[in-house]
């Protein structure tokens, strides 16, 4: 830690919080700081209001929620929104659907992306560079270009209304982006480990399984968090592949529930407080993952340039 700090200061890097360009050693400093906090609080308040409204209104009676002027404190607290959200809306079934998809995609992505990335990072074979460039170039193709033939393919296979169209592709490399990320990480592990293991009689695949994977837990963890987040929020693909209410994951099931129960496009007769209760429950797992793994998560976002 101390060594790192010294190296940083020698390079003139701070990485600390107080490297701001506005800060100067003048008497205005205190006033400046106060202004900064005032602005931060104002923006923070504006960004927090929708979130507070989501949670508070999920605990309100409908008349309370529509009150003028609006109030943020539910009075009385009405838990029955959650009861409705958990019973009239098939919450448990939809959550199980989501979890099945999430877990299988996680397994498929982590296993196959790491194996492929290992191949590109640490095994030598003819055509490696060219193939890796091909991997990278697939990132340029918008998913919608391949979507329709993929849909027709899964339709031919009679896979519609099953989880297979969502799960099976993740076992085939898990996406170019993750292959790229993991390859970059694998490249930072010294090759001496591989050599030592090979001298001890390990083949390529035991090097992968016994040496590289255990050393890559941080990278795999970041990848798992990202995969969880994107699968939990996934909407378009489940929407086109899963038409039956019983098979739909949370996000799609909620729209189906709202639309079938209350008619398309009608904004007036929807039990908003119940929708807010279900929405709060849907938002809870990603928010919790974010809180529990915040440092890890933000670092991953910054390194990979991904936004959530």
């Amino acid at each position: 830690m101390t060594i790192k700090a010294r190296v940083d200061s020698e390079n003139g890097q701070t990485g600390g919080w107080n490297s701001g360009w506005l800060r100067s050693a003048s008497g205005k400093q205190v006033a400046g700081q106060a202004l900064i906090y005032l602005l931060l609080l104002a923006v923070g308040f504006m960004l927090a209001v929708p979130f507070i409204w989501l949670v508070s209104s999920s605990l309100k009676t409908e008349t309370d929620a529509f009150a003028i002027p609006p109030s943020f404190i539910p009075n009385p607290i009405q838990w029955s929104n959650y009861v409705m959200g958990l019973t009239e809306f098939p919450f448990v079934r939809s959550t199980i659907n989501t979890m099945i998809i999430v877990v299988w995609v996680l397994v498929g992505t982590v296993l196959s992306a790491s194996l492929v990335a290992f191949g590109f990072a640490r095994v030598r074979f003819p055509g490696r560079t060219a193939l890796f460039i091909l991997v990278l170039s697939t990132m340029m193709i918008p998913s919608h270009v391949t979507l329709i033939p993929q849909y027709l393919l899964f339709r031919e296979l009679k896979w519609l209304d099953s989880f297979k169209p969502l799960i099976v592709p993740s076992f085939f490399g898990g996406g170019a982006f993750y292959i790229f990320l993991l390859r970059q990480f694998f490249l930072t592990i010294p090759l001496d480990y591989d050599d030592a293991a090979r001298i001890d009689g390990c083949g390529t695949f035991s090097v992968f399984w016994r040496i590289i994977l255990p050393l890559s837990k941080p990278a795999l963890g970041t990848m798992a968090i990202f995969t969880f987040m994107s699968q939990w929020n996934s909407f378009f693909e489940p929407l086109i592949y899963l038409n039956r209410f019983e098979t739909q994951p949370l996000a799609v099931a909620l729209t189906t529930w709202v639309q079938t129960a209350h008619g398309e496009g009608s904004m007036h007769y929807v039990p908003w407080v119940a929708i807010m209760a279900v929405s709060t429950l849907i938002a809870l797992p990603p928010v919790m993952v974010f809180f529990l793994a915040q440092r890890h998560f933000i670092q991953g976002v910054v390194v990979s340039g991904m936004k959530g």
Binding site: F125, P169, T280
Partner: protein, 311 residues
Amino acid sequence: MSAATPAASNGRRRRMSRLRLREAIDGYICIAPWVLGFIIFTAFPIIASFVLSFSRYTILDPPRFIGLDNYTKMVSGDPLFWQSLKVTVIYTALLVPLGTVGGYLLALLLNQAVKGVGFFRTVFYLPVVTPAIASSYLFAWILNPEIGLVNNFLASINIEGPQWFASREWVIPSFIIMSLWGLGGNMILYLAGLQGVPTVLYEAAMLDGAGAWAKFRNVTLPMTSPVIFFTFLTGMIGTFQVFTGAYVITRGGPADASLFYILYLYQNAWNYLKMGYAAGLAWVLFAIIFVLTLISLRVSGRYVYYEGAVK
């Protein structure tokens, strides 16, 4: 190497090559999942979707080749295509600059704060991890004309609020407000960029007598320009493909005023079963994104500063 006797070097080379061959086979086994996936889920669909875009295919009947008809219909016979393009371009043209500037200002502010950075960062980033489905319903209600939070608040101070998602003029601004809630996504990247600017540069600038603005203009901005450009480009590609909010809240309405491009593609493919036409729409989208990326890269050469790049 070449000094060794022919027999010995030959033998060694053969043994080496056998190991190499073994390794190469292992390598191909490692990447086999991706190769298969590439063929099945990328290469074949690309070709198929390209062919489809020149056909009429409604799933019920076999596909029929119709040449350029899909594309000529888009350009000359389909006002909804132009409407969806217009809606998406306006949305992108407003949201991406606002999100970039807003996120950057927020990151600058946060970078000045001495304490509580972690707290504010969490508050600013929380909307980004909120699922799109939750934020869509949340904003559909907050901006509901009759019973929403904003108009109820405005009513309490005797102002009549706009019709938001229900109005042709306000529906795009409403979507932009909703999307700007996720400003923290850009902010977190800018903050990392700001913290990576070496302090020596500021010290040197100070010795040269630079004030706060000069330091910002000549040090901070150039040093963080790569990350600004990155978020600008990825933001543009992302907003062009927006779908969930429009599907959940407006379904393209009122009067197609929020008919986003991907929503129109979805309707063609899965409501009207015009698979060929939808494939054509997808290719046009690809072409637009490709051209936008090329233009951005060209323009960025002039304004983006890459440390270590040889000019």
